[in-house]
């Protein structure tokens, strides 16, 4: 699949960055406004879906290859577990202990600010990375096996 017409390509080359930025906004402000890591990650994947539908599969794989996407997926998952284990080691032997909030922000009135809530924004970033990369992988995997493609490769 070589992609769609030049109208779709032009519009999507303008819109893709806005969608990506909106996903980053949803992830970073997840502890203040509605949204969070999961919704923001899906929006990040949606921007890549837009690129794939407009420009075709090969162009997308040049931008974000399958290996890099699976590495990002694993990085997000490991980052989330690392946050949990750091809390476990830092204080009280309780999993997901919010050590930054309890040790450094306690008593200060940091609510409604971007840098607040301790480990929660970090967890949001990890989950957003994980969800975005894995949903991108699903699309890449499912779009790889269309009946037309396999017959072309065999011939």
């Amino acid at each position: 699949m070589k992609g769609m017409t030049i109208i779709v390509k032009t519009i999507s080359s303008w819109v893709k960055m806005l969608v990506f930025l909106f996903g980053i906004y949803i992830i970073l402000f997840g502890h203040i406004t509605p949204g969070g890591g999961f919704a923001g990650g899906v929006i990040l994947a949606c921007s890549y879906v837009l690129i794939m539908l407009a420009f075709g599969r090969d162009y997308t794989e040049e931008n974000l290859s399958l290996k890099l996407a699976s590495k990002l997926d694993c990085t997000g998952a490991l980052l989330f577990i690392a946050i949990a284990l750091t809390g476990f080691l830092y204080g009280g032997f309780s999993f997901f202990y919010n050590f930054i909030q309890q040790e450094y922000f306690a008593g200060k009135d940091t609510a409604f600010k971007l840098v607040s809530a301790g480990t929660i924004p970090l967890s949001n970033i990890a989950i957003g990375l994980k969800v975005g990369a894995s949903l991108f992988l699903v699309l890449l995997m499912l779009s790889a096996f269309r009946p037309g493609d396999s017959s072309e490769k065999e011939s």
């Binding site: 949803i26 997840g30 502890h31 203040i32 406004t33 509605p34 949204g35 969070g36 890591g37 999961f38 919704a39 899906v42 929006i43 994947a45 949606c46 879906v49 539908l53 699976s70 997926d73 998952a77 989330f80 577990i81 949990a84 999993f95 997901f96 919010n98 909030q101 922000f105 940091t110 609510a111 409604f112 607040s116 809530a117 301790g118 480990t119 929660i120 967890s123 949001n124 989950i127 994980k130 969800v131 894995s134 949903l135 992988l137 699903v138 699309l139 995997m141 499912l142 779009s143 790889a144 096996f145 269309r146 009946p147 037309g148 065999e154």
Partner: protein, 186 residues
């Protein structure tokens, strides 16, 4: 009837799900699932849960795109000329209805920044504790995030593990190298 639009959306979701199960055409089943999902996200907005509504609508868009992309080459569907006008009228009508329901939803939502989540009664349950002490203990202004990523973060870890495992299975089953190697021999 007090919440008439809520019941209309509920009926819409039920009809969409039934058609999706019963229809023979794969593509129309996928589209019916999408319609049911969008009705569900509007219902979440009526129940004053914008976090879930945002997640539902973006997952629905992505799932619809993936499923249509997978099914569209398997199942060729053509609409004949006689039905084209009726189809346009129906789709514009449905868009209008969903738009009107969406504008009603914004009346039902609480005003931005108003503390609608703080209850008046002084209960001693866990949910009351989350509501009253969440902003002091976690520092997160969004109470949903403070629950899912601080108090109940272990659940979120399980959810992330489920997603990770399913993606792992999909990548392993659908990968390209082993298929080619099997076809050509080692």
């Amino acid at each position: 009837m007090e919440h008439l639009e809520f019941y209309i959306l509920l009926l819409f979701v039920i009809i969409g799900s039934l058609v999706a199960v019963e229809t023979k055409n794969l593509l129309s089943a996928v589209i019916c699932i999408g319609a049911a999902g969008f009705g569900g996200s509007l219902m979440f907005l009526f129940l004053k849960a914008p976090d879930i509504a945002i997640t539902q609508i973006v997952v629905e868009v992505l799932a619809l795109v993936i499923l249509i992309r997978v099914t569209i080459s398997r199942d060729k569907t053509f609409i004949s000329g006689d039905w084209e006008l009726i189809g346009v009228i129906f789709s514009v009508g449905f868009l209008l209805i969903i738009f009107l329901a969406g504008t009603k939803v914004f009346d039902a939502l609480p005003e931005f920044g108003s503390p609608s989540f703080i209850a008046n009664n002084q209960g001693d349950t866990a949910s009351q504790h989350y509501i009253q002490e969440g902003i002091n203990e976690t520092g997160a202004a969004n109470i949903v995030t403070s629950v899912i990523l601080d108090y109940r973060a272990y659940d979120t870890l399980g959810e992330a593990t489920v997603l990770f495992t399913s993606i792992l299975g999909a990548v392993v089953i659908l990968r390209k190298q082993s298929r080619n190697r099997l076809e050509t021999g080692p």
